[in-house]
């Protein structure tokens, strides 16, 4: 493989990862890392360095479109970023204490749990308004609405369980700091399942928050010399283009379709993570 061929292959695969990552709110990083290491035999550290940049690309690229479409809940994002950024600081500190094997196993278990929760929710096919009292969300004025392109109506929703959401986001931020990924797979369930936000709003808001967390990790990787421009360039550009394409598809898709794809991808990734941890 010549360097030119390498760049073109990585670009094509990154476009596919970007579309998928954008639709699922995953950030693309968890898809790009296995592809780069298993298919191209790239050193895991360089794969993570390229991935973390692509995570920012996905987040910023798709978030720009989601925010314009009014799908993102900016107030929820700002509040929850308190937890994701402090979590990321904790995670970066803990990364020096825990062994990599345990991190993979913990992550695999967390992801499997999240996806099983998603399957349980598949039975209630569409979004249901929560009626639980929500004093924190009332005080912070977190409730919102979005225009559902499929039904053609403005859909209102109440945000609940802000404190549980904050706790889950702290964990998501810590995982992000530990593994150098966006951890959208933890952020979406926190909003969708715990805070009762519609899946489309959860996905859009997750995408919006991922960039901030990833930016902190990326600067560390850059300083360590782990962002190789030759790998990161096609990954960042490819994932970016894929993410923009995905963000145009998202508002047109049925919520239950997104959720089903989400479950399958989550289970597959959690299996990969567990295997990586057990194998050592």
């Amino acid at each position: 493989m010549t360097p030119l061929e390498f760049v073109l292959y990585v670009l094509l695969i990154s476009v596919a990862a970007g579309v998928l990552g954008s639709l699922l709110g995953l950030g693309g990083g968890v898809i790009v890392i296995p592809v780069l290491t298993l298919l191209f035999g790239i050193d895991i550290r360089y794969a993570i360095g390229a991935s973390i940049v692509s995570v920012i690309a996905t987040s910023s690229g798709a978030a720009a479109a989601y925010v314009r479409d009014g799908l993102t809940n900016l107030r929820v994002a700002m509040v929850l970023e308190l937890a994701t950024t402090s979590g990321a600081l904790t995670g970066a500190y803990l990364a020096g204490l825990l062994s990599g094997r345990w991190l993979f196993i913990i992550f695999g278990v967390v992801l499997a749990y999240s996806s099983l929760m998603m399957i349980r929710k598949l039975k209630q096919s569409e979004f249901q308004q929560s009626t639980k009292p929500a004093p924190w969300a009332d005080y912070l004025r977190l409730h919102g609405s979005y225009f559902d392109k499929r039904t053609g109506r403005e859909t209102y929703y109440r945000v609940t369980s802000t404190r549980i959401g904050l706790a889950m986001m702290y964990v998501a931020g810590a995982i992000s700091g530990l593994l150098g990924i966006g951890s959208g797979s933890l952020k979406v369930p926190a909003m969708d399942l715990a805070m009762h936000m519609p899946i489309k709003v959860s996905t859009a808001t997750s995408n919006f928050m991922i960039g901030v967390t990833a930016a902190a990790s990326a600067s560390v990787y850059y300083m360590r010399g782990e962002i190789d421009p030759f790998i990161a360039a096609p990954v960042a550009v490819g994932v970016l283009l894929g993410a923009l394409g995905g963000s145009y598809l998202l508002p047109k898709l049925r919520s239950s379709t997104i959720r089903l794809v989400f479950v399958v991808v989550l289970l597959w990734i959690s299996g990969q993570m567990l295997w990586q941890g057990i194998r050592g």
Binding site: S60, V67, L89, G211, A216, P229, A236
Partner: protein, 145 residues
Amino acid sequence: MSGAVRIPSTSTPIVEHNPRVRQVELAISNLLRGGVVLSILLIVAGTIITFAQQPSYVSQPSELQRLIAPGAKFPHTIIDLASDLKQMRGEAVVTLGLLVLIATPVMRVAISILAFIYQGDRLFTLITSVVLCLLLLSLFLGRGE
């Protein structure tokens, strides 16, 4: 999970209808898009320059490992980057694009603070300022390693 009290679902949620909120949404969207477009232009231009400067990258499979294997040479300090940029090296232009991408979310948080000041929302000005401080702290901690 406080309280068994159930509020009837008929009550309309309290939602922001401030036109200023829409302005902020558009400003943030434009900032994110601007940062992304600038970085993609730099990365693509840098990649083209790289291949133009090194014709062997197009024809020689043996060159690949030197570029992507551990120990590959590329600018990873600001000083290296500045001197490589003066020589218009392709890799340096790509790296500059990657750094613009990394800075984009940080700028988004900074502009959000201004937006909340503009809206007169003290609580959210404080919340967003704390986020920026945490972010800068993490950048600082990264440098300390």
